[in-house]
Assembly symmetry: C2
Homo-oligomer: 367 residues x 2
């Protein structure tokens, strides 16, 4: 039986009602992803771990939940002009796929330096790729121009209640599949510090040391707290006692810094190859993170790599760095040695996505 | 409602009753593995594909089903002395795990040249590793010696009714999870022609051409037709109209040759590094393959590699070569152009396992 939330309706950009409505809207479109477990990983962590495999979701990441909810929330008149976004992450592909299923155009503004696999994903789902320069200003300008020309509806990757509600459907499924869960560990945005195009010697050495294939270290694609906000709002409504922990890379701990400061902190902007994909907390997601997320566990890149290797070798699943960070957090000393988390016995880990570009990996290796 | 089989009880080493008994015995031990699907792969194959992910099974392969059925079939007196097998494949690890769960010793005779990951798996599950030379004679001699010393029960990897019954439980789950399946494609034994220790230049080139990480091309671990025999016996009993197709590598097509000749054909024995792992049809499995398997589709190694890549990139799962061969068969010209298979609309593919050794891969690359 569900214990209804004390979360006040309207306080946040989504609530249990909008999340349930989203689920009714999209459940025939999305995949109800399986929950995996492993006795070996349970032994390693000293807890019972439950992995919600959103890497198997359509489009290879949880993003399709929010995107399909947004696209199918539009009325026919709105929808007829299509949708637009600027992103070269999983949101772009997810939006293209959702638009394709609705039979409407999707205009996707992509920075020139985006990884090939991402661009191909967008094209595969019928999205119309429109190029921009590799900085946020250019992306917004190009998107604005396309909007003026087409009248398409702009769908923000995370600062949108429909997106949050869509992502929140993960909790509805997860807590039904594994109702014993007392703690959820969910990735939160940040820039993964290894980038494929500027991959460092150190990264190569670490990979060799751990004996893992050098994956494409694209940035974290959890983008702006949309995932954890939706998941937290639904989970806390279903079970107010559940603990929500965020997992964030140390090299880009804007969420942890924001939580500590009590306000949104954005890290100094850089114009690296991956700048366009960088995401900070938005005004729709920050209040949820501030109020409902108990703590943010930051982990080193080396811990994320180890966790990716465990996902490959033990769970037999392909994950991107953000997909492995929840496991990395649970195995980290920070978590293991903190008495506050001693009572976390059944931990639900959201494996956010599995889009890694093996071709680019081999290109990097051949250089 | 189940349509009961016309398969005569006692004709084969297992039947629907022994398979249902096995399921009752092991269902609390095994993982009910999920069934995945992909719109992209459906489009590529022109069919609806359903992947039964035994790579997620405990021990990383379907073998745990048969091994746990065998171990838990023993009475207490038999069990007290432990179990023994000679194998360095997935059966060894599966038997060690099953024995551990029953709290009895497992003596595993392993050839000296076995891949490290396999040996580690056996040790991880508490199996007692006993080394032999890398040929079948030595393995049998060592196993015999251990048997004389311990009185442990020998559990053959496939030529055993309890093993067949355990593997057959896959069909009980699969046809309940995806009852629309009209065709099952299942790997059949054979020696995968790429071996990690003798990995060829050609193999490297193919991998680079397809942009995939060079996995450890260990031999096929489907071992002797145990998987397809169990799966066919159960599936044909549940739905006599279902088609059972086997998938076999062209470079080791002993099953196809046997089927064509109407008798067991064993390929000339070699004493390569992987000789000990080679498996041919046994007298328990051959009658099932002869009578119930409609055809054997042989595929090139390059097709298996392509299919592994698709499993990684699209399904986001880690598979060993034998785990990908079913998909390779369905995508092959042999299958696609054969009018006999035109009516196969809902194809169930058994993904047999996911044990690939990434550390050895990197060792190979660094040489």
């Amino acid at each position: 039986m569900e214990e209804e939330s004390q979360i006040i309706k309207g306080k946040y950009a989504a609530d249990i009602s909008s999340i349930k409505e989203a689920h009714d809207r999209i459940k025939s479109l999305i995949l109800k992803t399986p929950v995996l477990s492993s006795a070996s990983l349970d032994a390693m962590s000293g807890r019972q771990l439950h992995f919600k495999c959103e890497n198997f979701q359509k489009g290879g990441a949880f993003k399709f939940r929010g995107a399909s909810n947004a696209v199918f929330s539009l009325n026919d008149e709105e929808a007829s002009k299509g949708v637009i976004t600027h992103s070269s992450g999983n949101h772009a592909a997810a939006l293209a796929l959702a638009a394709k299923l609705r039979g409407i155009p999707a205009y996707i503004v992509i920075p020139k330096n985006a990884p090939t696999c991402k661009v191909e994903n967008v094209k595969r789902y019928g999205g119309q790729v429109i190029w921009s320069e590799a900085n946020m200003r250019s992306r917004e300008e190009v998107a604005n121009k396309v909007w003026q020309e087409t009248g398409a509806i702009f769908i923000h990757p995370y600062n949108d209640g429909r997106i949050l509600s869509g992502q929140g459907t993960i909790s509805l499924e997860f807590l039904e599949q594994a109702p014993q869960i007392d703690t959820l560990v969910v990735p939160i945005s940040g820039l993964f510090t290894f980038l494929c195009q500027s991959i460092s010697q150190k990264c190569f050495k670490i990979c060799f040391a751990f004996g893992i294939p050098l994956l494409i270290f694209q940035q974290m694609k959890t983008a702006g707290g949309g995932l954890i906000s939706g998941v937290a709002l639904a989970a806390k409504s279903i079970n107010p006692a559940i603990r929500i922990l965020a997992a964030e890379p140390k090299g880009a701990d804007d969420a942890a810094q924001s939580k500590a400061a009590g306000r949104i902190i954005t890290l100094p902007e850089t114009n690296t190859i991956a700048d366009g994909l960088r995401a900070f907390l938005g005004d729709f997601t920050w209040p949820v993170v501030r109020d409902l997320v108990e703590d943010i566990i930051t982990v080193e890149d080396s811990e994320i790599i180890k966790a990716m290797k465990l996902c490959f070798e033990i769970l037999k699943i392909v994950v991107e760095p953000s997909g492995a960070i929840g496991l990395a957090a649970v195995l980290s000393e920070t978590f293991q040695k903190n008495p506050a988390w001693k009572d976390c016995k059944h931990i639900g880990i959201v494996v956010s996505g599995g889009n890694v570009d093996m071709a680019v990996l081999w290109d990097s290796l051949k250089k």
